[in-house]
Amino acid sequence: MTQPTVGVYVHIPFCVKKCGYCDFNAYSGYRDATKARYVDALCREIEGRSEARTRVATVFFGGGTPTTLAAGDLARVLDTVRRSFAVDPEAEISLEANPSDATLAYLSCLRGSGFNRISFGVQTFDDRLLKTIDRVHNAEDARQAVALAKQAGFDNLSIDLMFGLPRQTLADWDRSLEAAFALVVPHLSMYGLIVEEGTAFWARRERGKLSLPSEKTEAAMFGHALERAAAAGYHRYEVSNYALPGFESRHNQIYWRNEDYFGFGAGAASYRGGIRSMNERLPGRYADTVAEHGTATVEREALTPEEAMGETMMVGLRLAEGIDLLAFERRFGVRAEDRYAPQIADLRQAGLLEQSSDRLSLTQRGLFLASEVMIRFLA
């Protein structure tokens, strides 16, 4: 039997500017000295939690903005991962990048140090909207960045887009879609804006100063994304992710299959053997804690089988292929079809779920109302 593989996530919590919609653990305004201390701490944490025999199939540098760090620092952290774990030779090694940080030299350096997948936070090709959502780049930067990444040898490329942005019209969204397809990248993530508590957008909405498209328009935008991406040859493999065949993000599928991963860095979560743990969120305090203790875990939660099953349903239904019913039964010793019989019957009846012999997945209608479906499998 082959040894199971895990994913490794590395969090870089720094940004040039925090976007109004962002509720990730990200901060602007940190000095270089702090960043240097942070990189040291990251390496130390990775070494401290090393498992030389554990096979790693994917590594993902996310943020924040990983490209706020020097390419050498990113290479050093990646090397530390390689030295501490058994990283597969053909592992997927991704990083998120800000289009305005992209230079040929910088990107070539990253490619040379082993990163083989890059994802640009483009969000929209509309310069007016980019300003509205606090992005520091413009549409031309985005096009340039993609071209440079290709030139630097990244053939596995992704861009992020957002819809449902303040004052965005359906026509605006259509133009962004066309612009994205024109770049011929093999992977696209397209997110409907969610105004999260604690963000600047949330505060603006509370004050009545955020004018968002209607639910009807937003639904139409989602519909356009689905249709047009399909027409352009992309298949949607997750709620918000689209790929040309073979370019699905392997790392992110670990999350949606609810499998094990290590998370390093400030606020990063790990999931190993049914236990979810979380690191200290603040970068400075994270660095201090690691310097003192070698690790910075501040929360640890052992999921009950009930919770783990609920989460498996919640994340699994995000995948277009749906939940692998056999894998579910192997893992929990109970058939999802039995455990959730009434919910499944109801939701199939309502046309929100469909079931094949070994898969349970959202219908098209279920996709639009995914939260309503998932809620039924939670406590």
């Binding site: 990730f24 804006l193 918000s240 992110n252 999931y271 609920g310 639009f368 998932m374 809620i375 406590a379």
Partner: protein, 603 residues
């Protein structure tokens, strides 16, 4: 050495809400050293949390205070606390009957309010000696001379010697105590006659059973005595008698003219009702006449209480039974609703009583409840000459069989500054009030008397009155009689199915408008769901208003990656928790507030 009967004083404090009754009671306890200041839990007499939160006294307490007066003699002062709300008028009248005197507290800034008048009238009807106290004289807006004038004009009480006090600052407290000693007559019962005592309150204790608060009129009572309750006919052996100091303190005997408590393994307050007369069991008590005025508590306002989770039905039954042990005015019987399943139709003294019971059920028994809109008891006369009392619109009689309908009316009193007379008159018109007369108790203030349907009062009247008069209006009412009214039942349909729990009764002329407002309100309250929802109001099958809640088009969490899974799960769980608070009607989820929304349709 007990003090002789002529040095006992039984008195109470009557006041409008917020005029400082509880603070004054605290000061009396302190000044008489019954409770030392450092032990003083703010406003000790209000025992229940809910009472304290709402600043309203519901349950009374009777505290014994030893007091050395200026004449150098020790007196026994019994302070009997009274509830300050119209729902509890009967309880007020019973506790007033246990007293010989009353402190009439009026705040120096606000002046006489509607409840002041109602309670002062009750006190005068009980022949109590009234000592006017003008409180809060320390406040900048205080105008004690004007208030004294008001007390004389409105209540016809001589206020020339009204004590000017500030309970908060401790001003005038000693004068009040001296005035009680000098002016309140001692009790006049006969210690040699057989026991005769008035039950003026009770509470239920899990270990002791009912603890009855009583006032001995004649004779005395001790532990071991066998007693007989005249109204309920029940007999018990007294386990213990005692007094409140304010904690319960056992004594050997409660003598003529004194107040105290007793417990006797009484299982329910329905066996020992407020207003009942206690006498000796057997021969000794034979021929003892009951004290006047006993009335079994009669619920005036009804609503359906349903568990959100139908599995909690037995728990709700048990909780209501337990509440009833302590609250004889609460009635309940099982009922079922097509929309809500199994629940109970509960009867209350009034709206406040209803809210308090509901809150206590949720808080103390951990139940999630859904309450339907309150209803009064309508009297429907059928064409065949029979009549029926209906406390639930779901049981309405078919229109063709109705000859005429009567509904309960109240005598209502509103006091407002002159500027708001127009507003009050307008509200009165809207609420079908029959104007009686208008008085001018003091410059700048008007007192209006109305007869109006109780059903209009339970429709959010008081809150509306308060908000439309910027809080200046005070209001009180008492039930008068039944009068004929032109009433219809309005049905609400959701996706063309009538929802019985949303039906309500309204005057024919307002049915159309109320139906329209209600469906509009429901449209706001009912969240979008996975399909369109049709809302209609109908009278006798004829649709009078309609609205639609359009279908939810999209509800997706866009991003869910590793670090986020727990948070997203908790987010969805929270949403689910919200849904659990809703009632499933067919496939439509209806939030609880929808069932109370009838109350909130402002015109």
């Amino acid at each position: 050495m007990p003090v002789p009967q002529d040095r006992i004083r039984n008195f109470c404090i009557i006041a409008h809400v917020d005029h400082g009754k509880s603070t004054l009671a605290d000061r009396l306890l302190e000044t008489t050293h019954t409770v030392e200041r450092r032990d003083m839990q703010e406003q000790l007499l209000d025992q229940l949390d809910i009472e304290r939160e709402r600043g309203i006294t519901i349950k009374m307490a009777a505290v014994r205070m030893p007091y050395i007066a200026d004449d150098g003699l020790e007196y026994e002062l019994n302070l009997i606390d009274t509830p300050g709300h119209v729902d509890f008028t009967y309880e007020v009248s019973r506790s007033l009957n246990a007293c010989e005197g009353a402190l009439l507290v009026v705040a120096a800034a606000q002046g006489v309010e509607a409840q002041t008048i109602a309670n002062a009238n009750l006190a005068m009807n009980s022949n109590l000696t009234i000592i006017p106290v003008i409180n809060k004289i320390d406040l900048p807006a205080a105008d004690p001379d004007r208030v004294a004038e008001e007390i004389e004009n409105v209540l016809a009480i001589d206020a020339t010697e009204a004590i000017r006090a500030s309970a908060k600052q401790g001003i005038g407290i000693r004068e009040i105590l001296e005035s009680v000693v000098r002016n309140v007559p001692p009790p006049v019962g006969d210690p040699n006659k057989p026991l005769r005592a008035l039950v003026f309150d009770s509470h239920y204790d899990g270990y002791l059973g009912v603890v009855a608060y009583f006032r001995v009129v004649d004779g005395a009572v001790s532990a071991g005595d066998k007693i007989h309750m005249i109204a309920t006919g029940k007999e018990f052996t007294v386990d213990e008698v005692g007094v409140f100091t304010p904690s319960m303190k056992r004594v050997d005997q409660i003598r003529t003219g004194e107040t105290g408590y007793l417990h006797a393994a009484i299982k329910s307050v329905t066996d020992c009702r407020v207003g009942d007369t206690v006498t000796a069991a057997g021969r000794a008590g034979q021929g003892v006449e009951a004290l006047p005025g006993y009335k079994p508590a009669k619920p005036m306002v009804f609503c359906g209480l349903y568990p959100i989770d139908s599995a909690q039905f037995p728990d709700l039954r048990e909780a209501l039974s337990k509440m009833q042990l302590n609250d004889a005015a609460l009635s309940f019987e099982a009922e079922s609703s097509a929309a809500l399943g199994f629940g109970f139709r509960c009867g209350f003294l009034g709206l406040l009583h209803m809210e308090i019971v509901q809150e206590r059920l949720e808080r103390e028994f951990n139940l999630s409840l859904l309450a339907t809109s309150p209803s009064v008891v309508y009297r429907i006369f059928r064409t065949d000459g029979t009549s029926v009392d209906v406390d639930n619109p779901a049981n309405w009689v078919a229109p063709t069989q109705i000859e005429h309908i009567e509904e309960p009316f109240v005598d209502a009193t509103v006091i407002v500054p002159t500027d708001y007379v127009g507003t009050v008159m307008e509200m009165g018109r809207d609420r079908r009030a029959i104007f009686g007369n208008m008085e001018y108790p003091a410059p700048g203030r008007v007192m209006l008397h109305y007869q109006m349907p109780l059903s209009e009062i339970i429709m959010d009247f008081f809150d509306q009155l308060k908000s439309r008069t910027k809080g200046y209006a005070s209001f009180d009412y008492e039930l008068s009689d039944y009068k004929p009214s032109s009433l219809v039942k309005l049905d609400i349909q959701i996706n063309s199915e009538p929802v019985d729990a949303l039906s309500f009764v309204t005057h024919r002329d307002k049915a159309f408008q109320r139906g329209k407002l209600l469906v509009e309100k429901l449209k706001e309250i009912i969240p979008r769901q996975m399909f369109e929802i049709k809302l209609q109001a109908a009278i006798g099958g004829k649709i009078v208003a309609a609205e639609r809640v359009s279908a939810m088009r999209k509800n997706v969490i866009a991003k869910c990656y590793g670090g986020d899974i727990t948070r997203k799960r908790k987010l969805l769980e929270k949403q689910k928790e919200g849904k659990k608070r809703m009632k499933q009607f067919g496939s439509v989820e209806i939030p609880q507030e929808a069932f109370m929304s009838v109350l909130k349709i402002s015109e």
